[in-house]
């Protein structure tokens, strides 16, 4: 049995969260963080999966308003039940970027200023960020119209599914209004997946993705360029990985000819407008 000096399982490093300054009630609330091992000599595998579309039970938050705790929800992902499930991986000495939607934790909270800590992991192995401030505001007119326009006829709003699912009408796809659009990530991606052909799409459509979105913007730009020039895919992917090492997995896929944009465009049932 291990004594006090014996090694213990590697731990996750504290999270450093990138976030928007303000979020809008009813819309996604994306934050980004890098998963790292506490010690640089360690790599982590079989970590619970969190993506921008679904977080399972691996996310948690502690939310304060005016110093008072108003929401506490611990990460509680289960261990894997399938031996072949790979989960998320953090390379030895490396990092894995996570884009996560924390809106589900704010569904019953009113607009206002909050201090938020984000947690990630399982009940027994988890890590947390330091508190950071955000503002949650009510939707403005244009945003309220979006909520009505995009809400499905039945069921709850699932912005992830709305983003990647083929629109009922080809002309129902348009780019984000501006950088303040709370759906700027979703609309951009949807526009690339189901909008004009990637040969003709204006890369400037990505410009709305600034701030915390710069790694995703660079990755999408590389994807579009790789679509137009497949032989450059590896070089483009390597450039993104060098700048944003946490995107290694998606860029490996791009280098192998498995870019997301191409994937979704291939499987859509109708040609784009």
């Amino acid at each position: 049995m291990g004594g006090p000096e014996a090694p213990s399982r590697p731990k996750l490093a504290p999270l450093v969260v990138e976030h928007e300054a303000e979020y809008v009630v009813g819309f996604p609330m994306y934050v980004a963080f890098a998963l790292r091992a506490e010690k640089p000599n360690a790599g982590l595998t079989r970590l619970p999966v969190v993506t921008w579309r679904s977080s399972g039970d691996a996310l948690g938050v502690r939310v304060k308003r005016g110093g008072a705790l108003v929401k506490k929800d611990e990460p509680s992902a289960e261990g894997f039940r399938e031996d072949w499930e790979k989960g998320l991986k953090v390379p030895v000495g490396g990092q894995t970027r996570i884009l996560a939607d924390v809106a589900q934790f704010f569904e019953d909270l009113p607009p206002g200023a909050y201090s938020v800590e984000v947690g990630y992991g399982t009940a027994k192995r988890q890590t947390w960020s330091k508190p950071f401030p955000i503002k949650l505001r009510a939707p403005e007119d244009a945003e309220a119209k979006d909520l009505v326009l995009f809400r499905p006829a039945h069921g709850e709003m699932d912005w992830g599914r709305w983003t990647v699912e083929e629109p009922a009408a080809p002309n129902a796809v348009f780019p984000p209004r501006d950088k303040r659009d709370p759906l700027r990530w979703n609309k951009t991606l949807r526009y690339l997946l189901y909008g004009p052909d990637t040969e003709t799409v204006d890369i400037a459509v990505l410009d709305v993705l600034d701030g915390m979105w710069i790694p995703e913007r660079d990755a999408l730009r590389a994807e579009i360029l790789a679509w137009r020039e497949p032989s450059a895919a590896k070089r483009l992917a390597d450039e993104v990985t060098a700048k944003h090492p946490g995107l290694w997995e998606d860029m490996n896929a791009l280098a192998a000819g498995q870019g997301k944009v191409a994937f979704y465009r291939r499987r859509r049932r109708r040609p784009g407008p």
């Binding site: 049995m1 010690k39 360690a42 790599g43 595998t45 039940r81 399938e82 031996d83 599914r161």
Partner: protein, 700 residues
């Protein structure tokens, strides 16, 4: 051929009661494991008996009388008595067989069958008077006047001639997509009749409803029907025969039919009272218009006879595997009626599910024909619909994590009958995500001795020389030469004692042996999870008890780099109401939605673009495994299947872990034996499952 139930040609109702088996040879009765007897009279199974410990076995002392009432038509009535000895994991041995017939006119009285040993029986024959019987009157001398009053006896034959809601199996234990059908006149004379849970009389899904409607014909052969005559219906209890079959492993008997066993787990002879479900109404009888219902009790009711027929609706017990018979007889205060009753065969409650079959255009067809048979012991009927083609999607995601993002939505879109209660779905897809052209384990990156360490909370690790961030899987050799494989997770590289090493953490095998039928949620299915590492075992993520696979502290190890293990099939879990997205903290439910990847490299050759010879057995196993999940059941139970001789493990196991015994200790060398059948626990818990309580299915 003997017809036990049909009215046509009915000549007698013959009751045969087996009283004893006598003269059992010492070589039989003195066997180390006491033998037991089984019998059949006509189509009816009897037994199993108490253990045979003496020269004679008094069958009149059995908890359930060894008798059967046969509606004979002139054909001989076959009787067979066999004596068996259980041999645990080995094939059971039939030690004696006595075969006999009772031929028409079925003489009443005591009789002996066979020689050594012999069966003593008593026959009671109730002849049906012929339609043209002569009437005899006293004789007197010639020329004398005389008179006689001839009273024509009232002879009434009651015949159950139809049961709505009862279905006759058409391919028990065999391949095929057609499993049972409503058959006019069928009254379960083969004892295999099925009534369905959560179905109305027309077969439509209706929550908490299980009904049959019995029709009886009242045939007045002579005389007239008394004015107060009614049909009395009686529900009769039956033993669950599952565990009495010599081919059913004795270890699983007490779990499946506890009442047949004593406190030590020894079979004490068949006993009644096994039904676990309750009828939706108490008393369970309901009136059919025109056939007034009276004298309702929990087990019987009377109905009016109108137009020489009578009908009643019976609310059946609500758990799959529950069984019963129904007797119909004339009830009247008149003493001058000679009546002949009729009884159904055994009717058993079953789950019945329709399964939508979807196939991507380029996917291989799913071998669904072989899937239903393994579910039959669990009283589950799966009716697969004809395949419908859907558009190809070569992969569901570009990476494994994107696959998990997409799979539930993909199934939600494709499964067009998801809102219809009673439907499951299987989909033949192509690949989950892009996978390299390799299969199985990755390259060997280390082969040599390692030292196994364990932390105080039970996590085990090894250290191998060099830097190997790609380490993914390890085989450790046991002292007996067996290799046991484990996944690796979390690598650390550091200099230890002047040498650069990679510390690899060993992911234990998990087992769920304590599961029960629940609400279909994964929380319930996996509530008790045990872990078994190379040298440690215990509760999951707390394997602090030393034992595990009892691998030496410094075993030979073979460490592989990342391989290509991925799912052959997957059943995406859903939230309440079948929603594909589940909010944090909300329960996830199994919902009978299964995707099979028919281009999995285990059975698909990428060069020839054809499936290999192991496609059919492999995919059949995947389909059975995944559809057992649909009942809220966990996998990796750690048990053998329910049969003997014992050769295979439950279909819910994976290939590499060892099984566990009753004390939750690993049983050596039991990996690699996964079969197609269920263990006794899965069998029983699938029966107990109430699908209408699964909030993920949300069948209303």
């Amino acid at each position: 051929m003997l017809s036990s139930y049909r009215v046509s040609g009915l000549t007698a109702v013959v009751t045969i009661k087996l009283m004893s088996i006598e003269g059992i040879p010492g070589v039989v009765r003195l066997a180390r494991k006491p033998p037991y007897a089984l019998a059949t009279i006509g189509a009816r199974r009897l037994g199993r008996s108490r253990p045979i410990t003496g020269e004679n076995l008094d069958l009149s002392a059995e908890a359930i009388p060894w008798q059967h009432e046969v509606r004979a038509d002139g054909s001989p009535i076959p009787i067979e008595v066999t004596i068996w000895q259980d041999h645990g994991d080995k094939k059971p041995k039939r030690m004696t067989r006595i075969q006999a017939e009772i031929a028409s006119p079925y003489p009443a009285g005591p009789m002996e069958l066979g020689g050594e040993p012999r069966v003593k029986a008593v026959v009671d024959t109730h002849e049906v008077p012929s339609d043209s019987a002569d009437v005899y009157v006293p004789r007197v001398g010639d020329g004398l006047k005389h008179g006689a009053t001839i009273v024509v006896p009232t002879v009434v034959v009651v015949t159950i001639d139809g049961i709505r809601g009862l279905h006759k199996p058409v391919a028990t234990g065999k391949s095929g997509v057609k499993r049972a059908e409503a058959t006019p006149g069928y009254v379960s004379e083969d004892d295999l009749g099925r009534a369905y849970l959560d179905r109305d009389l027309d077969g439509k899904w209706r929550k908490g409803t299980q009904l049959i409607e019995l029709h009886a014909k009242v045939d007045v052969r002579s005389g007239s029907l008394p004015g107060d005559a009614k049909v009395r219906w009686t529900m009769i209890g039956v033993d669950d025969f599952t565990n009495d079959d010599p081919g059913f492993h004795s270890e699983w008997g007490p779990y499946v039919d506890a009442r047949d066993y004593d406190q030590k787990g020894e079979h004490r002879g068949a006993h009644l009272g096994d039904n676990e479900g309750k009828p939706a109404h108490d008393p369970p009888w309901a009136e059919v218009a025109g056939f007034d219902l009276s004298r309702k009790t929990a087990t019987s009711a009377d109905t009016k006879i109108a137009g020489n027929e009578s009908k009643v609706v019976l609310h059946c017990p609500s758990t799959a595997g529950d069984n019963f018979m129904v007797r119909a007889e004339l009830h009247t205060s008149s003493a001058r009626v000679d009546s002949f009753p009729h009884q159904t065969g055994i009717i058993t409650m079953w789950h019945r599910l329709d399964v939508q079959v979807l196939k991507m255009a380029s996917a291989e067809p799913l071998p669904v024909e072989d899937v239903p048979a393994p579910f039959e012991p669990a009283c589950v009927q799966l009716d697969f619909a004809a395949p419908e083609e859907i558009a190809d999607e070569q992969q569901i995601g570009t990476t494994s994590k994107e696959f998990f993002d997409n799979i539930a939505d993909f199934v939600d879109r494709a499964f067009s009958k998801k809102s219809e209660p009673g439907w499951f779905c299987v989909i033949a897809a192509l690949e989950p995500f892009p996978t390299p052209d390799r299969k199985g384990d990755g390259a060997i990156i280390y082969h040599g001795k390692v030292k196994l360490h364990a932390t105080s909370d039970g996590w085990e690790y090894v250290e191998i020389p060099g830097t190997h961030s790609e380490a993914d899987f390890i085989y450790l050799r046991r002292p007996d030469g067996d290799k046991i494989g484990f996944k690796l997770e979390d690598m650390e590289m550091e200099v230890v004692g002047g040498t650069m090493i990679t510390r690899c953490w060993v992911y234990p095998h998990d087992t769920q042996p304590e599961f029960t039928a629940g609400d279909g949620s994964t929380n319930h299915a996996y509530a008790v999870r045990l872990g078994y590492g190379p040298r440690m075992q215990g509760k999951w993520e707390h394997t602090t008890t030393r034992k595990g696979y009892e691998i030496d502290e410094e075993p030979e190890a073979i460490v592989h780099g990342e391989g290509e293990a991925y799912a052959g099939g997957i059943s995406p879990e859903v939230g309440k109401g079948g929603k594909p997205k589940v909010k944090k903290g909300d329960p996830k439910y199994f919902a009978g939605r299964t995707v099979v990847f028919t281009q999995h490299q285990v059975y698909f050759d990428r060069k020839t673009k054809k499936v290999t010879s192991n496609y059919r057995p492999s995919v059949t196993r995947v389909l059975v495994h995944e559809l057992v999940h649909a009942f809220g059941m966990p996998h990796k139970c750690g048990y053998f299947d329910c049969r003997t001789p014992r050769t295979e493990t439950c279909v819910m196991n994976y290939g590499w872990p060892w099984m566990v015994d009753a004390k939750r200790q690993l049983i050596p060398k039991t990996n690699g034996k996964t079969g197609l059948q269920l263990c006794g626990r899965h069998l029983k818990e699938v029966r107990r499952t109430q699908l209408h309580k699964n909030k993920g299915l949300a069948w209303k």
